[in-house]
Amino acid sequence: MTSDSTAVAAGGTSLSSWLRGARLSLLLREVALLPVLVVLLVVGAVVSPAFLTVSNFAGIGQQSSALGVVVVGESLILMIGGMDLSLESTYGLAPMVAAWLIVPVSAFGDGTDLSPYLGIVILLAVGAAVGLVNGLLIVKGRLNGFIVTLGMTIVLAGLQNGIVKAQSLFNLPRPFGYLGSASFGQVPVALVVAVIIFVLTGLFLRYHRTGRAIYAVGGNPVAARAAGIKVERIKIGVYVAGSILAAIGGLMEAGRVSAVTGQQGYGEGIIFSVFAAAVIGGVSLKGGRGNMIGAASGVILLGLVQNILDLANVSNYWIEAIDGAVILFALFLARIVGGESTAEE
């Protein structure tokens, strides 16, 4: 606090070198998980010769894409200091409602026989509606986000089973299943779309004023409000965006397994993996911190661990325990490597 020269430098001549220093430290923080991923690649290569093959990685990509898109949604919600457990139910309900309107009565549809393209619009609308209701209840109604979305999770999962009387919907038309099942050569379409969503969201968070406002709102909502940011509008908007992303993830999953089952989402309990990926990737549960590079590394890490356990022929009885333990370890490692930025005060 003594030298005036620093202050002058800050505002004047060495502005560019000042900037470089800032960028470097930022980059280091964002690739905190890289060493862990490298270790996993080595372990995978040792465990199975089938690991380092294009088809194996295409498979990992196919499997992780749906989860990844939901992780983007949850990360945004965590960044504004919120939380949404109901993304897993939206992930099941949105494709269920759409498929129900699309498929014929003989396949347990409701007989509307909607065009599959219109079905996708309905799917997005269901996502948006769920997000809007959550956002309004939490932000305008000042209800606790944990409880609201917990209740919503169960309501939506009930609807998912209720409208089709717990049947699974098969025979999905091709356009509806395209996103989750098609591929360009060896590269799954779902992976390409997921990568695009990660990149666009990452750029949005870094270069868009609303993206920057998300960090401000999550970091200190009162200060953000004092600086003229429309805090409530941004929060509600993020809940809506998060739920739409969950619906898109659900569409990918439905396409991948060529069906919408009553189990998709809530029944599988995917929300645990969603939170794990986001938090391993350095997204703070307290809001304001996180980025898409981290979130993507978290998703890749979970995908690699799952894949390696499969390839290593680990007994099905033990796979969950090992999976959970690896996640806890990764969390700890990310905390060490990532330093304070991944710490929870």
Binding site: M1, L15, G21, Y207, R209, G219, V222, A223, A226
Partner: protein
């Protein structure tokens, strides 16, 4: 005043330091049964330290506290301490979700609670002292005044014969104050010793038999109230006025521009017009405040902490809703409680609590400074380059001599003074027509203080209006006018700078006689 009264409380030769700050030096006072002693002094004189020591929360470095001639229980043994002396703190210690009876006997019951007995004993106490509150009522449903009565009842329930009232009227309306006084007289008539701490000198003359004045941690005056005039009291509080004024920080800061008196300013157009503003904020209510700020004018608002000084700033800036009245900027109505709309209309806001409201701690300096102007930095589609943030922030960091390692350095890592500069820069960044600044120099070193005040004066010189809400009188040197609030109402207005420090103090204490009257409107 040495008392051999067995019910009395006595404090002799008490010293207390916090680090290098001397809070109390050789302080002695005594409370005797049936007497009310008024303790007065400016903010920071050491009143709160005395309260903490007498309440058994803080141990003096030297000296002792005696109850009825015997040494007091050891510090921390709150239960035994409460049998002697009970404190009604400035901030309510009531548990809102419990009933009146439970609050009265909070922490003081045997392990098994007999509800019937609890309520019966509460009713007895209420009846004995003429208080009219149902024992079964939930405290959250009570008014501020009633909650205070519950706290007094709690003190009496323990059998304490000595009650400390720490600024009890701060949150009360006029009628409630009058009723409180009646209760205090009842207490003293019933043989209770009362220590009455207040900023309002007229209250002290109203109900206290004796008065003690604390200044800079020393007891400078102890006398019977009837032997003193108000001027004596003020003189004792501020010290020998001339010497004190010369040593005040404001006088040592030649860099702060003294505003010229009544120059071109009054002819300028009215920028901000506030009409009959009301608020029921817990931090200080407003009951119908009207004021104007012209372009190029710096208007100061001052008063005691609870007088509504911060509330008026927050309400005008849209940081909290108003319950009535109008705020107009350049003639158009500013919506209530919408900070974003107020900023869009051209009202800048430098909040009181910079840690809570002034910045986002883990984000960089440049990002925080430009948070108010992302709409201007962003091109079509709302996108902008981080470098444009740094470029926009650079002139402001230079202007305010803000010291940081780079534009990306998290504000959390900066010193308090530099953090405050970030908050000020964030406000200056959007070129507001009016800046509402609430205690902008609190906790800032002398040099930074001068710089911050100078930058506010500079904003006014370039045609904007400034509303400076501060209880630090040395901030007011840059003002063209100063409005003094007492209990949420405009009490006096000073229109001729330089402002007389003593007159300001007298006015903030709510006294309009003597010298202050000339200035009061």
């Amino acid at each position: 005043m040495t008392s051999s009264d067995p019910a009395g409380v006595e404090m002799t030769g008490v010293e207390k330091r916090f680090g290098t700050t001397r809070a109390l030096h050789d302080v002695s006072l005594s409370l005797s049964a049936g007497q009310c002693l008024g303790l007065v002094g400016r903010n920071g004189a050491g009143k709160s330290t005395i309260v903490s020591i007498l309440s058994g929360l803080l141990e003096p470095d030297a000296g002792q506290v005696r109850f009825g001639g015997a040494p007091a229980p050891r510090v921390g043994d709150i239960a035994r301490w409460r049998e002697w002396i009970a404190t009604v703190f400035q901030h309510s210690m009531i548990v809102p979700d419990l009933s009146v009876a439970e609050n009265v006997f909070l922490g003081g019951t045997s392990p098994l609670v007999s509800w019937r007995e609890l309520r019966a004993r509460t009713r007895d106490i209420m009846r004995e002292w003429g208080f009219d509150i149902a024992a079964e009522a939930l405290c959250r449903d009570l008014s501020v005044e009633q909650r205070q009565i519950v706290e007094i009842a709690r003190a009496l329930a323990r059998g304490a014969r000595c009650v400390l009232l720490d600024e009890p009227t701060a949150a009360l309306e006029r009628d409630a104050v009058r009723r409180l006084f009646e209760r205090v007289r009842q207490l003293t008539a019933g043989g209770v010793a009362v220590l009455y701490i207040s900023h309002h000198l007229e209250e002290v003359f109203d109900i206290c038999q004796n008065v003690a004045v604390l200044r800079d941690g020393e007891m400078v005056l102890t006398a019977q109230a009837s032997e003193l005039t108000r001027d004596d009291l003020v003189a004792a509080m501020v010290g020998s006025a001339q010497v004190k004024a010369a040593a005040s920080p404001a006088q040592r800061e030649p860099r702060i521009r003294q505003r010229r008196s009544r120059g071109t300013v009054p002819d300028n157009a009215v920028l901000l017009a506030v009409e009959n503003l009301t608020s029921d904020s817990v931090q200080g209510r407003l009951s119908g405040v009207s004021l104007t700020v012209r372009a190029g004018e710096v208007v100061g608002i001052t008063g005691l902490l609870s007088a509504g000084v911060a509330t008026i700033g927050r309400t005008i800036a849209g940081a909290e809703p108003r319950t009535g009245g109008e705020v107009r900027l350049r003639g158009s109505l500013v919506p209530s409680g919408r900070r974003d709309a107020a900023q869009h209309a051209g009202i800048g806001y430098i909040p009181e609590d910079r840690r809570a409201e002034g910045f986002v701690a883990h984000l960089g300096v440049a990002e925080n400074i430009t948070m108010t102007i992302t709409d201007r930095l962003a091109g079509r589609l709302g996108l902008f380059r981080p470098a444009s943030r740094s470029a926009a922030a650079a002139p402001l960091t230079a202007k305010l001599s803000l010291v940081a390692s780079g534009p990306g350095q998290p504000v959390a890592e900066l010193s308090g003074g530099n953090q405050q500069k970030v908050t000020v820069a964030r406000t200056l960044a959007h070129d507001p027509a009016l800046i509402v600044a609430i205690t902008p120099t609190r906790g800032v070193d002398v040099a930074s203080k001068a710089l911050l005040l100078d930058s506010l004066a500079g904003v006014a010189a370039s045609g904007a209006g400034v509303l400076l809400c501060s209880d630090e009188l040395s901030d007011l040197v840059i003002c063209d006018r100063v409005i003094v609030l007492v209990r949420g109402e405009v009490f006096a207005e000073f229109t001729e700078p330089p402002f007389d420090r003593d007159k300001l103090i007298v006015a903030t204490e709510g006294m309009s006689n003597g010298k202050a009257q000339e200035a009061a409107e």
